[in-house]
Structure formats: C-alpha cells, structure tokens
Amino acid sequence: MVQFPSGAAYVEALQNTRLCFAEPDLKGAKVELDKLARPRPISGNFASVFSVTTAAGKRHAIKCFTREVADQTVRYRAISDHLNRVEGRWKVGFEYLQRGVLVEGRWYPVLKMDWVEGTGLTRWIEQHVHDQRALVGLAERFAALVADLADAGIAHGDLQHGNLLVASDGSLRLVDYDGMYVPALDGMKAAEMGHRNYQSPLRSDVDFRPDVDRFSAWVIYLSLVSVAADPALWGQLHQQGGEYLLLAEEDYTDPAGSSRFPILLDHQVPEVRELVARVRGMLGAPVTALPPLTPITFTTAQSSGTFRPVQPAAPLPPWMADHVLPTEPVPRARFVGRDSSLTAVALVAPLLVVGTVLLAVLAPAGVALTGVCGLLLWFASTFAVYRARQETRAKRREYARLDELDARLLDINQRLAVLTEEGDALAKSAAQRAASEKVLKAGLQERHRKETAAIDTEAQRQLASIMSRRGGMGAERKRELDQALADLRAEHVRQRLATVSIADAGLEGLGGKLVANLREAGIATAADFAGVNYVTNSQAQNKNPFFRLPSGLTVRVPGFGAVKASRLEDWRQKQEWIARNSQPTGLPDSLRRIIESRFAQRVRDLDELEQQVKASAMQQKALVNERFTADLVAIADQVRAANAVTAQRRVEHDRAVRRCHGEIEAARTAHLIAARETTAYDSITYPRFLRFAFTGR
C-alpha cells in the first residue's frame, strides 16, 4: 500500500512550485497563501486542494491525495473518458497527472482541475433564504442535474452541500469526482461512502451502482423545496455551521427520536409534508429499492396554484431579520352581498322606530311597550343575521385559530418549563453523585492510609526491636569472650594446682598424719580446696578452721588448728599466684573463632529477620494497595458508566429542548401570521354590519 504524504507535507512542498511540479505551466505558478504566508489548503477526507494560478493567468484547483484510493488511475481514466462523451454545464474539467507533485523526493499523482467560481450550497441558501423564486429555480435545476446524471449512467457517489457550487448565473456545478460511478467501473467497490448526513442508513461500500445518489438527491431536493416553501424552516432545522441542510444522520438512524422529522411531517404546506413523508418512508428500504427523484411541479414561483408558500411575518427571529422585505398590508375584510331580504329587514327598522314613537304618544303605555319589544326583537334578529354571516364566521375562525395557537404556545412553554426543571434536576443529581463519589473515594483513601500506617507502625516496632538486639550484641560478645578467657584461666589455675601435692610440699608441721587426714577429707593437692573459713568456738575460745572444697562444701579436718590451717592456706595462695603467672593472656584463635562465628550467625539471623519483617510489610502493603486500586477501579467503572448515562440523558434533553425551541419558533411565526390576519377582520363588527345593512357599504 502506498503511503501518501499528509496535507501538511503538501503545504510544505507547494512552498516551492518550481521544484514540486513537473507540468510546464504549473512550474513556478503562484499558489494562493494563507495568513501565515503558506499555501492555503482546502481539505477533505482524501485530499487537500490548492488554488494555483499559472503565469498565463489561468487558475487551477490542484488536488493532492492524502490517502490511497484503490485503482485511482483506472477510476480517473474511466471517469474522464465517460465525461468526455457527456454534455452538461455541471461538469468541471480535470486532468489526472501521474507525475503530479514531488514530495520528499517522490512523485505523487494530482488532479489538475479547472477552478470553479461558485458559492457553496449552504452559503448560497443562507444568502437566498427569502428568495423563493431563486430557491424554486435551484430545486428545479438540481432535479434536472440529477436526471442528467441518471441519463448518462453516472452516479456522483457523494452528493452533498460541499460538492454543489452555484455559479453567479444560478447554474449548478458538481465537483469532486473521487467517488463517481461510471458504467466502465461496474463491479468495483465504492471509493468512498459519501457524506454521513446525506446517506441512507443502509448504504454500504458494496453499493456502487448508477442509483447510489438517489437518497442524497431526495434529501437535497426536499431541503430546497422546504426552505422555498417556508424560510423559517432553515432557522428551525439547520444549525449554523452544521454539515447538513435540514436533515442529518441522526434523523435517518433514529427517525422516532428525531426532532426534525415531526416539524416537517406536520408542516402546513402540503408539498413539504408529502416530500418528507416519501423520504421518511425510504429509511427502511434497501438502497437498491429507492425510487428516482420525481420533482413536484411548480406552476410558477409567484403563482399560488399548487404551491402556496408560507409568508414570513414581522417581527422575525433575529437571524432572519436582516433578510426580510417589509410585508404588504393585509387586505381588509368587508361585508359583501347585500341581498333584498337584508334590505327589507333594514327597512323595517325605521318603521318600527316611527311606529313606537307614535304609539308612545297616542296609545296607552301597554301598547307602546309592544313597540319597544318589536324594536328589541329587530335588534336581536339582525344580530343573529350578523352572527350567521360568512364574514363573521370567518372572523371567529381566525380568532379561534389564534386561541388555539395561544394554547399551543402555552403548552410548548409548559413542556419547556418541565424540561428546564428536568435539566436542573439532572445537573443536581450529577453534582450530588459527584459529591458522594468524592466522599466514597476519600473514605477509601483514608482507609488505605490507615491500613498502610498500621503496617508501617508494626514493621517499625519489630525493626526497632531487631535494632536494639543488634546494638546489644557488641557488649554481649565482649562479655562472652571475657568469660571464656576467665574460664580458661580458672581451668589453667585449677589444673596447675592439681599437680601440686600437699604431701610433697613439705610444709612445716604437716606430718604424714595430717596429710593422711587431709586426703581422708578429699584434699590431696592445692586444687582440692579453695580456702579456709574460721569458726570461733565459744567454749574453747579458739578458732576452728573449716576447709572450703571446690564443690562449695566445708569440711573439718582432724588435727588442724587455726595456725596449721592458715599455713596451708598461705601455701595454697602462693601456689595459686605461681599458677596465675603462667595463665594464658588471651583466648586461643580456635576458641575465639567459635565464639565469633556464633555471634556472626546471630547477626545474620537478625539481618534475615529484618529482611523478613520488611518483606512482610511490603507484601501486606502490596495487598492493601491491590485492594485499594481494585476498589478505586470499581468505583471508576461505576462513575464512568454513570457519566455516560448522564451524558446520554443530557444529549436527549438538549435535543428535546432544541425541538421545543423549534416548535416555539414555528408556533410564534404562525401566531404572528394569524394575528396579522385577524386585523383584517377589525371592520367585521355589529355596528359596521348595521351600517352595511342600511347603506350596502
């Protein structure tokens, strides 16, 4: 698939026409520029078009394609060949140039077209909205154009306001032939589907046939005729800037919900009603079953024979106030047809008056009263005749219509008031919902914050305990090493002392007997006792020595008095001092390593515990986060759904309001016309009738 340059890439390339064009007359030609002094494009879905004027002064529209159209070359050749054999003022000359424009070193095709001077259909209608004659003429020319295309076996493929230009003489020009069907292209698919606001909802891209324009033709024709019949429809149904005339895609896809169909279907001009009913009836029909456009016959634009348009009445809505010509005064209604019976009735009156006066003078009061009664009777009967007159009935009808319109306006205004209330309620409930969502979300956030904080607090507590245990470990380790050294030293002393025999010591006064006694008590070496306690004997007034054994027990050894015991103890202390002199100064490495490794293991255990605490906290937090996110997403889903529903309601509400405004405008116009017409009957009054009865004027 060929990638085509973008519109902006063409704008860039066309800044130098000497480089970008190959055609001799386009080389160096002048491109129309925009406000930024860059080539000014007019873009569509498939292409950007530039206005290029050659040195010779001929103006062209150069169409640069931004998307590949399947079989473009074949299509344009076939279209060109076919159009060459067809007559028609609507045609616009073009040339398909294979080596058209150079962009970024590559050649792309362009369509070199004659520049058409004309006004787009929408703008033309805006300019002629009150020129019924011009609108009717254009509708007729449009119908003729559609018939010409059909006769030539051509379908344009995208009939719409943007592709119809009106020349200054009022003739139509048809532009943009990208989607055109000509017989030679039979069997291909449509290159484009046409403007959505002009297509049958059932059209698909396989519908590429000579009759694909039918629906759009009906839609355009209907619009032209309707605006001609009632200019107010343009203001009611066409939204300024809207890419449609009177009807749009939403009307075709949902005619029941359409705000525009009812206004046209109930319109007071029968031609409008009939045309729109036909189009309404086509919506469900397959594209192949649509009838060709059959135009209605206008006697002439001015005559009011078959086509009696609605006259606009002042004052008008602001958008059309500028366009309206002052309306002619309404012809006044008069009493006509004074026949002989009416003359006769009229003549009775003077007789009655004269008679009554005479009776009043000559006759008794009772008879005179009869005369008065006769006079009253005369007034009553003439009033009855007045009431029954055709002119009076017409007046009543006009006033009844005015009342009816008043009632309708009241009704619509009431509906509008209800709608306004509904709109307010909608806004209020949406605001309430938003507020409660905020509360809900804030609650979730608060819960999440608390849960996270609780996890953090617990983890901090555990980490602090680990930290303090780790901090105490240094002192503990020192203590343990000291203890080990102390134990080692004590053992050294003990072992040394154990090698020093008391018997061999040769202590003065410690003969074999005493040594034997000592042995008897389990004391043979310096290691076998730790010291001597002296217990004062109260009776003997002397101190008795008790030997402290390593087990902690004390023992009395026969034959030992304080003196000898003391000598032995001194000896032992000396031996201990000797032993201490050779005690180890430090721990041997092996022992130290054992202790150190034990502590290293404990540090590692603590590290591991710390990691576990941290990991567990993270895991718990992840779970809390996960749940929090899931809760938020769940709320978000609800909110999104609710927002979509609200938006849908608001769209429907806005549509209903627009419809009401349209109806109000229509009813107001009708009311103005009716009110103006009632003024014609100002002279239809009973006194005037009496004058008419007497004078015939």
Binding site: G7, L36, R196, N197, E243, T629
Partner: protein, 278 residues
C-alpha cells in the same frame, strides 16, 4: 456504538497534549540522529498542530472541529503555548492555526527529482518551545487534564470523547499516576469514555514497543504501569493503524514504549485520528 460520533463544528471534540518537560528531556533521544528529546517532542507537537490545521482547512478557513490544549509538566504544570496563546488551555483550532508564536524560515535540502539535492526554505509555524527542567509531576498533569476534560464534557455531552495524549520520558515524581489515569478515563460523553494514550520517549537504542495488546513483553514495572494507564484504541484508529502497517487487535492499547523519532510522529498521527471529518 461508541466512538462513532460525528466530529463537526457543531459537535467538536477536544485534544489535550501532556508534554513532559522534566530535566531529563535534555538527554538525546535513542536512534541514529542525536537530538534532544525535548526538541523532538516540541517539533512533533508543532508539526501535528500544523497537520490538524491543514486537515480542518476549508474554503472559508480552518474549521473548529477540535479544541486543543498543550499542557507542559516539569518545573510547573500548565499551558505550554507561547506567543498570543500563552496561558490558554483549550483553544479552538481556527485560533490555533492563526496564532503561532512565530513562523520559522527553515533551510532544507530537498531532492530535486532528478537525483540531486537543492536547498530551499520552508515556513514552519511554532506554537510551543522545547523546555526541560524540574521533575516529572505526572499525577498533577493528569489531574490538570482531568479538569479540562470534565469542563469540556459539561458543555459537549454528545461529542466524540476527548483524547488525552501523554508524552513522557521518565517515571512520575509525584506518586503513582495509575489512579489519576483511571480518573481521567471516568469522564464520558454519550459516545464513550475519555481516551488516554501514553508515549514513552526513549534515550536508549532499545527497539520501540508500539501499540501492544498485552504487557507481557514489556521490560519493567514502569512500562507496565504506563500500559495499564492507556485506553484501547477505538475502531477508527484501529483500522487506520492497521492501514499504517501495525498489527492491531480489539485489545490493542494506545501506548508506545521506547519511542524513537518516527514513532513519536506515528503515535500523534494515529492517536488523533478520531474519525472521519466532515
């Protein structure tokens, strides 16, 4: 069907571009040509604004099919327009088109069609200047976008849903952007929820991951976060992207990771193809 509303002057939609302006945007982008990421992104946005203006140009001028906001986030969060539009948020496209900060004369060597190169100049409108300093307050940026989108939808309940395009090069520095991203997407028109697309600009030579349909092949948690923040492409964008040669399914997300210059342009092109314009 969602994401099928007509885009027209009477029913326009909104684009919000969120542009990362953190200090790291000063780094060069991955790929052969060494260019600052900030320059590449600003250039791509300026080009896109031109492209949109051209696309919506009609006989009488540029039509307001779109209203556009360009929001920068870095040292601060706010409008990134310079010149006459400075400080403005959503601006109708016709006003954007007519009010660039300046029009640059850019010299350019172009092929002459006969195998040679010629020097020519082109006029290039500039709306935003490259900026790079401060952190990456993505959460605030998304909240800013949310405010714009909510206000837009209050006035345009029937529009094609607004599109938020986030272009960033680093992790958010003001918290996890996931919930802020979800919040943006809760705002809906009758035609569907707001779309959020994300693009991550790479400084490495890594291969770009374009429009993925799952987060399986993404390299890290950050990439997966951005993936999770991104909306799936609506039908018209899917078909356009597949025309552009991407492999696309129903669950393809509007997300590009490790983008080089070409994928930045493609991302903006595809991410703004809402639907056919009329």
């Amino acid at each position: 069907m969602a994401y099928s509303a007509e885009i027209s002057r009477t029913n326009p939609t909104a684009f919000v571009f969120l542009v990362d302006q953190s200090a790291s945007m000063n780094d060069p982008i991955g790929g052969e040509i060494p260019q600052r990421k900030a320059d590449v992104v600003a250039d791509a946005i300026n080009r896109l604004l031109t492209e949109l203006s051209v696309k919506c140009a009609k006989e009488e001028g540029v039509r307001d099919y779109f209203h556009v906001a360009v929001v920068g986030y870095g040292q601060s969060v706010g409008s990134a327009f310079s010149g006459d539009l400075e400080g403005r948020d959503l601006v109708p496209l016709s006003q954007v088109a007519d009010n660039p900060a300046r029009v640059e004369e850019r010299p350019k060597k172009v092929p002459d069609g006969a195998g040679g190169l010629v020097e020519t100049t082109t006029r290039f409108p500039v709306w935003m200047e490259p900026v790079a300093n401060g952190g990456t307050p993505m959460v605030r940026a998304l909240q800013y976008a949310e405010t714009l989108v909510a206000k837009w939808l209050a006035d345009h309940p029937g529009c094609f849903p607004p599109i938020v395009l986030n272009l960033t090069d680093g992790e958010s520095t003001d918290g996890d952007p996931s919930t802020a991203a979800v919040d943006v997407q809760t705002h809906a028109s009758a035609d569907g929820a707001t779309l959020l697309f994300n693009l991550h600009v790479s400084a490495s030579e890594a291969t770009p991951v374009t429009f993925p349909e799952s987060d399986e092949d993404l390299p890290d948690a950050y990439a997966r976060t951005l993936f999770g923040m991104s909306s799936t492409l609506p039908p018209d964008m899917r078909s356009y992207a597949s025309q552009q040669g991407f492999e696309i399914s129903d669950v393809t997300r509007g997300f590009v990771y490790n983008a080089d210059i070409a994928s930045v342009v493609q991302f903006l092109d595809i991410g703004t193809r809402a639907t056919d314009l009329r």
